[in-house]
């Protein structure tokens, strides 16, 4: 009774006079942010990004002004000096006690278990608390920053979240005080942050650089002080091959940017901040370095139905069974070098969640299954095109796993199929000039070609896309592109636009190979390519399992041209707007808004193998979830972002993204969270910026993926 009071009060006050938010400061383009064109952090134009390039043995790490080391002269950030002699370049010279480096305790290529030299960094830990209801998750991510140096600092941390996360809450804790952040247009929030930082106030700013890459800035952390940042997001969880998947990324992999790119996500070594020349940059620890940053997870899983199994191939789970459908799961102090992937199987899938808003409209999320009899239908012959990413970041275990997956897939081709193998790094090459029949001789030739592939060089992914989709289609066969990559590229837009433009009647299935892949890119490639995505970790059985599931999917026709007859339910604004093909083992989640009573079932219609089919999906009793309005808004923002990718003039779309995000209090590419503690300013002038360096993802060859 009491809990309903305040939302009701808010509604009464807000529905009549809710004016569209005005923003006199906001007109700058997104991501102009607070770095200048050369990628140097430049909040006020009077200092540069600062990192602890060396460690000292002092227990409290000392921050001193000093001349830059000699190698700075060769770094691509010379404009720093061009700002004049007043530049106050400050380097933190600090060294943690050196631990004896040991050999990796895992297979060659894996490096996260190295007990290397610990580097003092201002991010102490991340605590992730998730509550899962059916296929909806509400996740609080709490980052603890402190200052191990002897002067105040600013912190910048580039970190990942799931690409469909609706981030709607942001709280900065300073001592015992908790300050709720305000969502504003990005340019306005950035200006407010710059001003607060300049005046010495403790402040924080959360921005979105990509749907799955975010930047957290915290200004004016005094020595010995601690500041917590807690953000909360909601997202829907996919059902794949019999289980729901909860995936939480902990690190952004080192991304390759094309020559001339100025809007990418760059990678640089610790101590070389700004070297990538990109507006967003991740700095990486060296292979022999570690930090104290650890990630802990607490997950309360209420499946809404009896749980059959809960497991993770990535982390050891501490599970407590609360009831047949509820588990409490914990993972303590994990290294931030790979995704946590949790899968849970249930006896029966929940069908629909609803939430009635103040305006009487209902937001809903519905799990739409494929027809039950797809498995009984055989596929037509295919023209299989394997595309293998052979860039430096795939070197070692990832490319070995990718090759095994392709071998498994080659072995399953039928005599009526043809195939081609394409590799790309800086450019693309192929097994032959055209696809060849899948005869035993040709398959043997393909296997030999596959064995010759090595990981080296950059990720000119566009060459792989062109090579796979540009040649003339075979009228007798459906082209199926199997694209294996870690997705480590800095600017996804070119790739997604190319897939959308070139896919034609082909289907593109993306395989994310690695422990912390770019899930946003891979999911969108599959969505634009009308295929499906799969993630192949570096576990022992992963390639074979992924290949088997892939073949299960392409071995049966999909339900195409899908539409839903909602009956008397007045449904609008459904996302995805165009429901993708429904494949074996791949139900999809649709979100929308509706009026009227929930029907007992809806009817799904589509085409399978040229035959029109329809079937009913019972909705059953709907479960209530308060986050559905935000999830709907996030889905609309995602839909608009996709449209903006392909639009010649996205200005109107951008304005609509801002409107939706501000109305629902969501983070987006064009909105940001700002929190300032205006109680009293700190002293001591402007603080230097310390980027939070991170390990390269487990299994990734740092030498070949992070530019020196």
């Amino acid at each position: 009774m009491r809990k309903l009071l305040i939302p009701a009060l808010l509604v009464a006050a807000c529905t009549k006079d809710a004016a569209p938010p005005q923003s006199p400061l906001a007109s700058a383009p997104p991501r102009a942010a607070d770095r200048d064109h050369d990628g140097i952090a430049d909040e006020d134009g009077d200092e540069n990004a600062l990192e602890p390039p060396e460690a000292t043995e002092a227990p409290r790490h000392r921050a001193v002004a000093a001349s830059p080391p000699r190698d700075t002269a060769t770094r691509p950030r010379p404009d720093l000096r061009a700002r004049g002699p007043s530049v106050d370049e400050v380097w933190i010279l600090a060294r943690a006690p050196r631990a004896a480096a040991t050999e990796p305790r895992v297979a060659p290529g894996l490096r996260a278990e190295v007990e290397g030299r610990e580097v003092p960094l201002p991010l102490a830990r991340t605590d992730v608390r998730a509550k899962i209801s059916g296929f909806l998750a509400t996740v609080e991510v709490r980052q603890r920053y402190d200052n191990p140096y002897d002067r105040k600092i600013d912190v910048e941390y580039v970190f990942p979240l799931p690409a469909n996360a609706a981030v709607s809450e942001f709280i900065m804790t300073v001592g015992a005080r908790r300050i709720r952040g305000i969502v504003r247009e990005r340019a306005e929030a950035e200006e407010l942050y710059r001003e607060a930082r300049r005046q010495g106030y403790v402040a924080s700013l959360l921005t979105e650089e990509r749907p799955n890459v975010f930047t957290q800035k915290v200004a004016n952390i005094e020595p010995g002080k601690q500041i917590d940042i807690a953000l909360t997001y909601d997202n829907t969880l996919p059902w794949e091959d019999g289980a729901f998947t909860f995936a939480f990324p902990t690190v952004v992999g080192p991304r390759y940017n094309r020559a001339g790119s100025r809007d990418g996500v760059g990678a640089a070594q610790r101590g070389s901040a700004g070297a990538s020349g990109q507006p967003t940059e991740v700095t990486y620890l060296a292979p022999d370095e570690t930090s104290r940053h650890r990630v802990s997870f607490t997950i309360e899983l209420d499946a809404g139905a009896p749980l059959v199994a809960v497991d993770s191939a990535t982390h050891a789970l501490d599970q407590k069974i609360v009831s047949d459908h509820v588990r409490r799961i914990a993972v303590a102090d994990a290294a931030p070098d790979r995704d946590l992937v949790l899968r849970y199987r249930v006896a029966s899938r929940p069908a629909v969640f609803v939430h009635q808003g103040a305006d009487g409209a209902t937001s809903f999320a519905l799990l739409l299954p494929p027809p039950a009899d797809l498995r009984q239908l055989a596929r037509a012959p295919v023209e299989m095109v394997f595309v293998v990413d052979c860039s430096g970041s795939m070197d070692g275990l990832p490319i070995a796993v990718a090759k095994r997956a392709v071998r498994q897939q080659l072995a399953r081709l039928g005599p009526a199929d043809t195939f081609q193998i394409i590799q790309f790094s800086m450019d693309a090459s192929a097994l032959g000039r055209a696809p060849v029949p899948a005869t035993p001789d040709n398959v043997a030739r393909g296997l030999a070609y596959l064995a010759s592939l090595r990981g080296e060089g950059g990720t000119e992914m566009i060459t792989g896309i062109r090579a796979a989709l540009d040649f003339s289609p075979d009228p007798q066969r459906l082209r199926v592109v199997s694209f294996l990559t870690d997705g480590y590229i800095g600017d996804e837009r070119d790739i997604l636009a190319a897939v959308a433009a070139k896919v034609g009647s082909a289907r593109l299935f993306s395989f994310g190979v690695g422990t912390a892949v770019n899930r946003y890119l891979l999911e969108k490639m599959a969505a634009f390519g009308r295929g499906a995505v799969a993630f192949v970790d570096l576990g022992e059985r992963a390639p074979e399992e992924a290949a088997a599931l892939f073949y299960e999917r392409v071995s049966h026709p999909a339900l195409a041209d899908v539409s839903v007859d909602w009956g008397a339910w007045q449904v609008s604004d459904v996302y995805p707007e165009r429901i993708p093909d429904l494949m074996v083992g791949r139900p999809i989640v649709v979100v929308g808004r509706a009026r009227g009573p929930l029907p007992a079932s809806v009817e799904v219609r589509g085409v399978v193998g040229g035959r029109r089919v329809s079937y009913k999906v019972p909705l059953g009793p709907a479960a209530e979830h308060p986050a559905l309005a935000k999830l709907w808004a996030r889905a609309r923002v995602g839909h608009l972002a996709d449209a903006a990718l392909l639009a010649r003039d996205p200005a109107a779309i951008v304005e609509e993204v801002k409107r939706v995000a501000l109305t629902h209090g969501l983070l987006s590419a064009y909105t940001a969270f700002i929190a300032v503690d205006a109680t009293e300013p700190t002293g001591g002038g402007t603080a230097p910026i310390v980027p939070v360096s991170v390990p390269v993802p487990r299994g990734v060859n740092a030498e070949k993926s992070v530019p020196r």
């Binding site: 009774m1 009491r2 809990k3 009071l5 305040i6 009060l9 808010l10 009464a12 006050a13 807000c14 006079d17 809710a18 004016a19 569209p20 938010p21 005005q22 923003s23 006199p24 709280i171 900065m172 005080r177 908790r178 300050i179 709720r180 952040g181 305000i182 969502v183 504003r184 306005e188 407010l192 001003e195 607060a196 005046q199 106030y201 402040a203 501000l662 109305t663 629902h664 209090g665 700002i674 929190a675 300032v676 503690d677 205006a678 109680t679 300013p681």
Partner: protein, 129 residues
């Protein structure tokens, strides 16, 4: 001399030039125990954070993002604690960035007791009305 003093006093009373940050305490005064409130606040600046007040309203209150516009914000909070405050109680603290003359207006749009019934109350910024 008198003119000089007047000029000095005028300068001392003038708001500092340029943007500045300050906090604005929000107080609700009710005759009976307060379990929930909602206020609409308009400031001359930009709100850059919302903090809770004194217990049991020490958690940061929620705001309605759809109603946020410039320096206007609608805050609301409730408490399920058994010990609820009556009289003057600081329920929230706004963090704002201002430029020019400070100006804050507040309107109490709802106040309720633990049963959800409206209570007589008033809201003001600062500790005193």
């Amino acid at each position: 001399m008198r003119l000089f003093l007047a000029l000095l006093l005028t300068l001392a009373a003038a708001p500092p030039a340029g943007p500045r940050f300050r906090t604005i305490p929000v107080t609700v005064e009710s005759a009976t125990p307060l379990a929930a409130y909602q206020v609409e606040i308009t400031t001359a600046g930009r709100i850059v954070g919302v903090e809770g007040g004194d217990a049991p309203f020490d958690a940061p209150p929620y705001y309605d993002p759809a109603a946020l516009a410039g320096g206007r914000i609608i805050l609301a909070a409730f408490s399920t604690e058994s010990a609820l405050p009556a009289g003057r109680h600081r329920v929230a603290v706004l963090h704002v960035r201002e430029e020019g003359e400070p100006r804050t207006e507040i309107r109490l749009t709802a106040a309720a007791d633990p049963g959800g019934a409206r209570v007589e109350a008033q809201a003001f910024v600062g500790r005193q009305p």
